[in-house]
Symmetry: C2
Subunit: 350 residues, 2 copies
Amino acid sequence: MTKKVMIVGLGLIGGSLALGIRRAHPKIEILGVDRPETLAIATDRGLIDRPSALTEAVSVDVVILAVPITQILVYLRELSALGVRALVTDTGSTKAEIVRLADKLGLNFVGGHPMAGSHKSGVNAADVNLFEHAYFLLTADNELLKDLYSGLGAKFMVVEAQTHDRVMSQVSHFPHLLASALVMQSDGFSSDFPLTKKLSAGGFRDMTRIAASEPAMWASILLSNREAVLSRLADFKAQLTEVESLLAAADSARLTDYLTMSRQARETMEILPGNSANNHLLYISIPDEKGATLRVLALLADISITNVKLNENNREDIHGQLQISFKTRDDLTRAKELIALATNFSVVEG
Amino acid sequence: MTKKVMIVGLGLIGGSLALGIRRAHPKIEILGVDRPETLAIATDRGLIDRPSALTEAVSVDVVILAVPITQILVYLRELSALGVRALVTDTGSTKAEIVRLADKLGLNFVGGHPMAGSHKSGVNAADVNLFEHAYFLLTADNELLKDLYSGLGAKFMVVEAQTHDRVMSQVSHFPHLLASALVMQSDGFSSDFPLTKKLSAGGFRDMTRIAASEPAMWASILLSNREAVLSRLADFKAQLTEVESLLAAADSARLTDYLTMSRQARETMEILPGNSANNHLLYISIPDEKGATLRVLALLADISITNVKLNENNREDIHGQLQISFKTRDDLTRAKELIALATNFSVVEG
């Protein structure tokens, strides 16, 4: 039975883990290690029971390292030096380098990678629902950890550390570099064609959004998964050379085929939402008359709604689509029941 | 004075242009050329006054070609063969090839490129607000055309055709190819690592969204702007080689610098929204109490709202942010006045 947990790093991830642990295990004592100002807020908000210091790790059951990769590596050495026997886990975006070091140090370690985030950061952004329905990757199966994290509402998946890093190099780390390179190219081009900066439209914005992330954090991720990212980069150059030949040959049929295959391939991917908010979606068919939207919202006045999208113009049918996102699955279920009881509007989950 | 306009192609773009022309010039007669089913809907919805045939182009003042690039090229030849003297314009995503042909044929031609779109298509998706606040690029200054289009609410900008295509190769055409190549690479990689398809998260989704667009249309665009796109592609390979060397050298400081410069460069870009809906945004500070959101929405019951985003959890202040998007600028202005009259909530435009 887990009785005492230490969370090192109480930012968005660490703070949200604390809230999730509390939800399922109100009796577990949670100790926090971070800067004094952060610990004061974390204690105030009830994320942790009390501030602590790393040396106390010798007397806890689980240590969670929710800090950047470079710091995880430092803390692993410190925990080993302290002779810590507790289960140690982390939340880093790469796994191979971390697991390799933990094993070398003889720690009782299981790597973790919760695939959720937010544009917000810091202890004030901690959210008990951050990990709901998100994948939570573990480098080994571990019942103690899955039980500790059972209140997160996450989907656990065991992925061996090397495989984890290879997959992430393709779906996350290399794409990040690609986005940054595209911005740098555009920026250079804009000295010859200043309009470039003015006319960057929707597609460009979407493709480069991740280039706005924290540079130091991403440099660490890329360096921690260097070999895999370099392999993707070399492979991508070959991919570009293939496209180049299609375009250079002005081969319309083969170029169309390429774009068609790409579109189909994208459809077979399980494209995950960026955050949990989109996971609890209801589509409500409302009559096309004034007050219908307001009536639904009044019904749901007590339920935590995160977003409301109203019916679009120029619909072919006579019913409007009202699209409402909820904070939690429970909120969605309650809303569905309420609407069914109070109206004859048809409701579909998104 | 423009009295008669012919629109060839009444899809999303042509249909929306028709509505915008009507808004400013209710007396102009609009003729439509398209398939019979489309013309029937366009007539029904009042987009056009009547169906027509291309031969009637000899007796109109303006011909608008709102069809794919390959068809624009065909129609230009037909209009020339008919001896059309009217002002001819188009809506294609590339301009150099089209302007070159129109000039060669001796047509009275000004190229157009409205930078707006929607995930929806077809005559039923036509929307009078589609172009509001969007850039509408013209290959030459033309008062007649700007007057004709004055009801669109678009921002006109004159860009020489070659420059247009160079800029678009960087901000739109090459990025499209990049997104498709990334999907193809991922798809290939997933045969070795099946998890690749399962774990494509938010960043990957955003980066590859445009790879879901219509393949034939994009093949035409890429081929019509082949030289410029090939030049961007070659340049990008060099850009990747530079990043590769930073990563291969495991140079943390220089890699962080690169990512920082990229982030800063992105901030200097005027990132345009993908559609007009986000352009009319109000932030309303509401008290953190039940019913406050509903009260605002009830006040605005008669105004066309497209999206409502409700206050996020974990705010540090005691006021909630309610974020409401409106269909038009007028709706936003009216909403702002109403809220100011009826409440003491502070309102800021987004």
